[in-house]
Symmetry: C2
Subunit: 107 residues, 2 copies
């Protein structure tokens, strides 16, 4: 039987879909590098646990990069990788389509 990875597209969609994920990517795409706290404030309503999960997942997928500075207080920031930026283009198209279908009240 096929399994989840049969089509690479399914694997990719599996990574970028799911609650919050796209929103996080969108915000990183439009804002550039952000610290954990800033990100959490912009993705209003997300819990630290879920944000952490998403960031780890995206990092492992090579879509975002985590930059850690061992200071006091600790400073950690995230940004899209070059690979991650490749998503912008097709995603923007899908977004345009989604906006056309479902309205643009929320951008």
């Amino acid at each position: 039987m096929a399994g989840l990875e049969y089509v690479p597209l399914e694997k990719l969609l599996h990574q970028i879909s799911g609650r919050w994920t796209m929103y996080i990517l969108w915000i990183l795409d439009t804002n550039g590098k952000l610290r954990f706290g800033e990100l959490k404030r912009k993705v209003e309503g997300i819990s630290t646990k879920v944000l952490t999960e998403r960031l780890r997942m995206l990092e492992q997928a090579g879509i975002i990069h985590r930059h850690y500075e061992a200071e006091i207080p600790p400073k950690v920031s995230y940004e899209l990788t070059e690979q991650g930026k490749e998503l912008s283009e097709p995603l923007y198209q899908l977004c345009e389509l989604a906006t056309r279908w479902y309205g643009d009240e929320h951008n």
Copy 2:
């Protein structure tokens, strides 16, 4: 708080992601109109319940069209709507990207 529909893109991705969904769309895109049984045979391993769920969901989203003929035996076929076909283009791009990232052993 935001909710699932905050970004239209999330709503769209929510609809087309999830196990089997993309695969179903892919098959309808490449094969054209198909009957329930044919579809089920092509999406090897899927249960009737899940296939039905996905088809209902996609139908409600306006992505596929259900054509019912009250014969004996009953004949029901599915195909992409014009709206559904709009997905092909951006999806194809994402697919190219996914293939480049994750390999093309499986097409």
